[in-house]
């Protein structure tokens, strides 16, 4: 009798690569650390340090980098948009404290498609290969306006997709839409950073049992998304998630046994392997 037990497959992602130089430093520290269990790196195309991140991604052909589309942070890659940006050329800001993304209502669909093409081209040019998955920085592809052009691209290029959760939770219509299209995608996503001033997200350390249990209670492939990085004044001023990014790095150095629990409980894979 075959008694082999198959472990649940989990993609373990470090998020926001390219957001700032201190975030890059932290993620590179993790990449090079012997205890690192991350298998996936989300690369922003338009962050302060995206070019540096792309250069690193280009060199690290052994690692799996996804293209993390950005629609409400920094400046777009494309130019001349009439509906996506403010008068200074920055993307219109969503209110993440209230999770109010109504700015997307004003976005013109053609301009969204154009910007998706621009960000995809940016990745191909700067990283020198296709992304292993398509994701969005704040899960904006939970909105059909963003989701549909991204799924079109995913289908055309045969690239997996992160589940289009909303506020990082469930989002039935969007998720079933992706399933119906027959795309390869993760089924659930868990943010393992005590973000947004502690209101959402799991702590990798303090909530280890809860997180493992919650993941095990879901079907299919799950993704753990971790915001990792060092924190300088630039990042502190820029992001509501700053010091929280230190937890994963601290675990690498001080408590690797906690990370080993995740690696033991799950089959940790990258998007390139699903």
């Amino acid at each position: 009798m075959n008694t082999k037990i198959t472990k649940k497959r989990v993609v373990f992602t470090l998020h926001d690569f390219g957001k700032s130089f201190s975030v890059n430093d932290g993620i590179v520290f993790a990449m090079n650390h012997a205890e690192n269990i991350a298998t996936q790196y989300s690369l922003l195309p338009n962050g302060i340090a995206s070019n540096q991140a792309a250069q690193i991604a280009r060199e690290r052909t052994d690692l799996s980098f996804d293209l993390c589309f950005t629609f409400t942070d920094f400046k777009p890659i494309g130019k001349g948009y009439k509906t996506l940006t403010d008068s200074d050329g920055y993307f219109l800001k969503a209110n993440t404290a209230q999770w109010d993304f109504s700015v997307l209502d004003n976005y013109n669909s053609y301009e969204i498609e154009k910007e998706i093409e621009e960000q995809y081209e940016w990745f191909l040019t700067n990283v020198g290969r296709k992304p292993t998955a398509l994701t969005t920085q704040k899960s904006e592809h939970g909105d059909p306006k963003i989701l549909i052009p991204i799924t079109d691209l995913a289908k055309k290029e045969n690239i997996p997709l992160r589940t289009p959760a909303w506020q990082w939770f469930s989002n039935y219509a969007a998720q079933s839409y992706v399933e119906d299209l027959g795309l390869t995608f993760s089924n659930s996503v868990f943010v393992a950073t005590k973000d947004w001033k502690g209101e959402h997200g799991y702590s990798l350390e303090e909530d280890v049992d809860l997180l493992i249990s919650d993941i095990k209670n879901t079907e299919g492939i799950s993704e753990i998304v971790v915001l990792a990085g060092f924190v300088d004044q630039e990042l502190f001023d820029m992001s509501s998630v700053s010091w929280q990014r230190g937890e994963y790095l601290n675990l690498l150095v001080r408590k690797p046994e906690i990370l080993k629990r995740y690696a033991t409980e799950f089959d940790i894979i990258s998007y390139s392997k699903i």
Binding site: K194, G198, Q244, L249
Partner: protein, 253 residues
């Protein structure tokens, strides 16, 4: 009125600690900054004191520093030190530290605190009480016990300080660990609810930005940036003020 002193420890230890404390000082002008004199970056810290005209600068006494051992100092190192050294030997080391502070900063400290609360040991406490009395300097409430397995109480040190009639606070609060900001805020609010009208409290924090050097140096690393987040949150500061607290320097208590 209730008075609250916020004290930032470890100034001088690392560049990320220096820049984090300096950043927070701009947000809390009453912030008392506690500086180490034996560390590699104490000089950088002293330069920042001059350049930013920081007035509330006290000493964070170490007796043993990173440079002495080539590694961060632990509570066990201090237990050994106090066991092996006489009163006179500890006094000599402490005296040199205070002298170094006065030379670098150009004036006596505005307060005295210590690394891991080591001034809870009479070998150090008796000496700094004498020094503080002469110069009228407040001392942090010496609540810490190095042998924590016996319970974190230090009545003998506290009563000695009290009888010396030196300035100190009625309460000392700290929450160094924990990454749920709301829980930490609530814990501080619960602490501060204990303070009665006319009493004083100190909150100890460890502000720093977070870099690789800090990560490798201390188990208390990224949570130091949490302390910056906490005390740049105007809602939290206003909540404390609404409880009847006035933010003060040590001199103002």
């Amino acid at each position: 009125m209730k008075k609250l002193v916020i004290v930032a420890d470890d100034f001088g230890t690392l560049p990320s600690i220096n820049s984090g404390i300096s950043f927070l000082y701009k947000n809390i002008p009453t912030l008392e900054i506690s500086m180490v004199t034996k560390a590699k970056y104490s000089k950088e810290a002293a330069t920042m004191v001059k350049e930013q005209s920081i007035q509330n600068i006290g000493i964070h006494m170490e007796l043993l520093g990173l440079e002495d051992l080539g590694r961060p100092v632990t509570a066990k190192d201090y237990i050994k030190l106090f066991k092996e050294k006489t009163y006179e030997e500890i006094e000599k080391i402490a005296s040199e530290e205070l002298k170094a502070f006065e030379t670098t900063i150009g004036k006596p400290p505005t307060h005295i605190t210590s690394h891991k609360g080591i001034h809870g040991n009479f070998k150090l406490l008796n000496f700094i009480i004498a020094y503080a009395k002469e110069k009228n300097i407040p001392i942090r409430k010496p609540v810490t016990a190095l042998n924590v397995e016996l319970g974190n109480q230090n009545y003998a040190a506290e009563i000695s300080l009290s009888r010396a009639k030196l300035k100190s606070t009625n309460y000392l609060f700290a929450h160094m660990l924990g990454n749920n900001l709301d829980k930490i805020k609530n814990a501080f609010i619960t602490d501060l609810e204990k303070v009665n009208e006319g009493e004083t409290a100190e909150i100890v924090i460890h502000p720093a930005f977070f870099d690789e050097r800090l990560l490798n140096y201390s188990s208390l690393n990224y949570l130091r940036t949490r302390d910056i987040d906490l005390f740049t949150d105007q809602n939290f500061i206003d909540q404390i003020k609404k409880m009847g607290f006035k933010f003060c320097t040590y001199k103002q208590i």
